[in-house]
């Protein structure tokens, strides 16, 4: 396959995720930024059909997403792995109300990590989500990520599930210090 005939390049995954989220009816996004989410945040924020909201802490996004659904909106919450710990009690809300929840979590603390402070919450990310009833999917390649988000959106918005897609740090690349 030549570059010209390639359906998509691996580094185009933020554009692919934007397309997949729009196709799933997502018109609302909230986030605590992460470098790995920067391109997707830029794309969704620039989209006139999407309401984008910056958060001070990640659990706010869980409540905002539930409120959006109450009003008929479909929301996605973007955060890095360290923010998952902040969400624990607020995950009671989608669990009790069976509110659809779609979280995209960029992983830190696992692949060529420079900052040791990222490691404890990195290890706890998946167990924490699962302890609160969230279904966890993990993607290590661009193709797998796009398909996982497409699947997670369907599971969340049509089957009322709480789903987090973890985006492996290997896919995001080594952070340059």
């Amino acid at each position: 396959m030549t570059a010209q005939t390639a359906e998509r390049r691996d580094e185009d995954w933020p554009e692919e995720l934007h397309r997949v989220l729009k196709a799933a009816g997502v018109r609302h996004m909230s986030y605590v930024p992460d470098a790995g989410h920067a391109a997707l945040i830029r794309l969704l924020s620039a989209d006139p059909e999407v309401t984008a909201t910056v958060l001070t802490t990640e659990e706010e996004g869980i409540a905002v997403a539930a409120g959006a659904w109450l009003g008929g909106g479909r929301s996605v919450v973007l955060m890095q792995s360290s923010g998952v710990g902040n969400c624990i009690n607020m995950l009671s809300l989608p669990a009790m109300g069976r509110f659809p929840l779609l979280m995209l979590v960029t992983m830190r603390g696992e692949w060529a990590e420079f900052n040791p402070w990222q490691v404890p919450m990195s290890r706890a990310t998946q167990p924490t989500l699962e302890a609160m009833g969230v279904t966890v999917m993990r993607a290590e390649t661009a193709r797998d990520l796009v398909e996982s988000v497409e699947s997670a959106a369907a599971l969340a918005f049509t089957a009322d599930q709480q789903v987090a897609v973890l985006i492996g740090q290997r896919l995001l690349g080594r952070k340059v210090w």
């Binding site: 409540a63 008929g72 607020m90 659809p100």
Partner: protein, 197 residues
């Protein structure tokens, strides 16, 4: 900040806020504000939280953003709003014109033994909201102030609003809404013409 015991009774305050609600949608914080809103009359456009402390105003934000055509009122307590204080920055930055927050402020954690909260120790939630860019933020502690808040709620606004309403630290008998959040969600969405999912 009031230095004397406020005179307003919380049930009267919440009944006044909701008397002419029209098609306003309501989200409550957990505890006494949920009981107050329920006591004022259950309504399909009410969503009562029984947990998720700190999340009421943010749930209101998501709802207000999804339904810009409807007014949204969050009725919560001082303890609940203090736990979600960063959320006031998020709401200020989001700037929804159709969201108002009423903090029923008894200056105590009323559900857990009436321990004094921060608002009785000098913390000014309306000042925080002002600093976060709210279109208006007021603290009232008497009937005339409450009447002004009720009148303002009926008018359009340029951005989010917050009213701290000081009330007596007395818990009236509980008026319990249902605790099944799926049923509440489905009822609420049906009132907006939405399918359960």
């Amino acid at each position: 900040m009031t230095t004397t015991e406020p005179q307003l009774a919380r049930r009267d305050v919440v009944a006044a806020l909701l008397r002419d609600r029209g098609d306003m949608l309501v989200v409550t914080g957990l505890g006494s504000p949920a009981y107050d809103v329920h006591a004022a009359g259950d309504h399909d456009g009410n969503f009562y939280l029984w947990g998720a402390m700190g999340g009421a105003a943010l749930m209101g934000l998501g709802l207000a953003q999804a339904r810009p055509d409807r007014r949204v009122l969050v009725v919560t307590g001082d303890g609940e709003q203090l736990m979600g204080m960063g959320g006031l920055a998020t709401i200020g930055a989001g700037g929804p014109r159709n969201l108002a927050i009423a903090v029923i402020d008894n200056q105590h954690f009323g559900e857990t033994g009436m321990q004094a909260s921060h608002t009785g120790r000098g913390v000014d939630l309306a000042g925080v909201a002002t600093a976060c860019g709210f279109a208006s933020a007021v603290t009232v502690s008497d009937a005339a102030g409450l009447a002004q808040v009720c009148e303002a709620l009926a008018r359009p606004a340029d951005g989010p609003r917050l009213a701290v309403i000081k009330v007596r630290s007395v818990n009236p008998p509980r008026s319990l809404p249902i605790r099944d959040a799926v049923a509440l969600k489905t009822r609420f969405r049906a009132a907006l013409g939405l399918a359960p999912n």
